[in-house]
């Protein structure tokens, strides 16, 4: 079996938002929609203060609360753990966004452009099937699937790896198969120090964070 996931090393993240932009470019996201972002966080009070960059995205939970609540079956989970939205089946009711504890879903009512009229680039990357429906990080499943079909290894070969991971300038975002004990992600969490966001929600996220 395969279970795709990520380990994000927060200690390495410099908050440059390259992953954010790479994701928007890869998926042709309209203005105002970002499937991932890096939160710039100040924690504590002087003198015990720390600045933290926290890359946020869909956690591709093993027990995704967004999937069972979906009334149309548009929110789905693949056998390899990737959670995605089947755009043609989605009514855009927003229920999955209410069920997600990680603020990871985005309803695109209309593709806003950056200017008064769509640029050539925006016209070329327009995805009208995503209007009025829920959208979210897909772990770049098209890249992963296409890469695998060509014999590449996601997480090792850049052509088969999610764009955020490929684009990260600090090697802070690592993608791979948690069911493969020899994969880099498995080794990064092997010592048990990696953390999950809000494990108390019981969603079993597939994105781990390495902190101090």
């Amino acid at each position: 079996m395969t279970r795709w996931g990520m380990v994000i090393d927060v200690r390495r993240c410099v908050g440059c938002q390259t992953c954010t932009i790479a994701c928007m470019q890869e998926h042709g996201l309209p203005a105002g929609t970002a499937w991932r972002f890096v939160a710039d966080i100040e924690i504590g009070e002087y003198p015990n203060v720390r600045r933290l960059f926290l890359p946020m995205q869909c956690m591709h939970c093993a027990e995704p609360p967004c999937v069972p609540v979906c009334p149309t079956g548009a929110s789905r989970q693949r056998d390899d753990g990737i959670v995605f939205v089947h755009y043609d089946a989605c009514v855009g009711c927003g229920y999955c966004a209410m069920a997600c504890p990680y603020h990871a879903r985005h309803l695109v009512h209309a593709a806003d452009g950056y200017f008064e009229s769509p640029t050539l680039s925006e016209q070329a990357t327009a995805r009208p099937e995503r209007h009025g429906v829920m959208t979210k990080c897909t772990f770049c499943k098209e890249r992963v699937d296409d890469g695998r079909s060509r014999g590449l290894t996601p997480g090792v070969d850049p052509e088969a790896t999610p764009m955020c991971s490929v684009a990260c300038i600090a090697d802070a975002i690592v993608f791979g198969d948690f069911d493969d004990q020899s994969s880099r992600v498995s080794q990064m969490i092997a010592d048990g120090k990696a953390q999950l966001l809000m494990p108390e929600c019981g969603t079993q996220p597939s994105v781990y964070y390495l902190t101090d």
Partner: protein
């Protein structure tokens, strides 16, 4: 310099208001509950004596439910795909809501055309399940701290019954009738139970995120309008109607209007104000890194 580690979990991204469900969702939750509650109240009252309002409830209740469905459909991104919402009855309370709403409409229509006790019981059960289903929709919203509480379906059922009983009062009085005497203590009991459920909901959790989310429900204005105006004042007015028969008409009409308004305000606040997305937290984060 030595520093103390921060106690876990650390809030990294604060709660923020949900922006997808607005007034149309409130309309669906309120009108659905109102329609269901009206039918149940009228059907129960009809067991204790003549209640012409049950005929009205047989079409008005379903009509309110359908208006609620239509309202919420305008909020979806692709309303023309609305029929697909029926597909996931096995897992989604939104699908179940639609099925139960449809069953309620059909059974209430059957009661209207063929007024049999069996139809009335079946329609009442469907109405109660519809109100519960709406509560479960909200309860399964794991991303919203103030909604993801086990008591939420009971809150919605109680709200439906209170608002429905209020509308039942107003219809009976508009028809020139006073509700049966036995109905009044039952409504007082219902209001008292509804108040207990509401207070239990407000105190459901001591978790800071929950308390922050329900702050608007616990402030003085909400207490005045929901607890005072929506529960205590109607209780007083119903008691007044029982003690002073001459004042019964106006007192019960006002009580009904207050019960309606109180539940509308409560549901509006629950959806629009308490609908705060869960804050993002991380456990065991140390703050003493890089400090000298």
């Amino acid at each position: 310099m030595a520093t103390m580690p921060q106690p876990a979990p650390v809030e990294l991204i604060p709660a923020e208001p949900q922006r997808l469900w607005g007034t149309p969702a409130v309309a669906n939750f309120f009108l659905g509950g109102l329609g269901a509650g009206l039918y149940i109240a009228a059907a129960l009252a009809a067991r204790f004596g003549p209640a012409p309002s049950v005929r009205i409830a047989s079409w008005l209740g379903p009509a309110l439910v359908l208006v609620g469905f239509a309202a919420v459909a305008t909020e979806s991104g692709r309303p023309m795909r609305g029929a697909r919402v029926l597909w996931r009855i096995r897992t989604s309370w939104m699908s179940r809501e639609l099925w139960l709403g449809g069953a309620f409409v059909l059974l209430a229509a059957a009661d209207l055309v063929f007024p049999l006790a069996l139809h009335r019981v079946q329609a009442s059960v469907a109405a109660a399940l519809l109100a519960l289903a709406q509560g479960f929709i909200v309860r399964r919203s794991r991303g919203v701290t103030a909604w993801d509480v086990p008591v939420m379906p009971v809150v919605f059922l109680a709200s439906a019954l209170v608002s429905g009983a209020g509308l039942y009062f107003m219809i009976e009085l508009s028809l020139g009738r006073l509700p049966e005497a036995v109905v009044l203590p039952a409504v007082v009991g219902l209001l008292a139970a509804g108040l207990v459920v509401w207070l239990r909901y407000l105190a459901w959790s001591g978790e800071p995120a929950f308390l922050e989310a329900v702050r608007a429900l616990r402030d003085a204005r909400a207490a005045r309008l929901i607890i005072g105006g929506g529960y205590l004042a109607p209780i007083a007015l119903v008691v007044l109607a029982r003690v002073v028969p001459a004042a019964a008409g106006p007192a019960l009409y006002l009580a009904g209007a207050l019960m309606l308004a109180g539940q509308l305000y409560a549901k509006t606040l629950v959806i629009l104000k308490a609908g705060m997305l869960r804050p993002i937290t991380l456990g065991a984060l140390r703050l003493d890194r890089r400090l000298p």
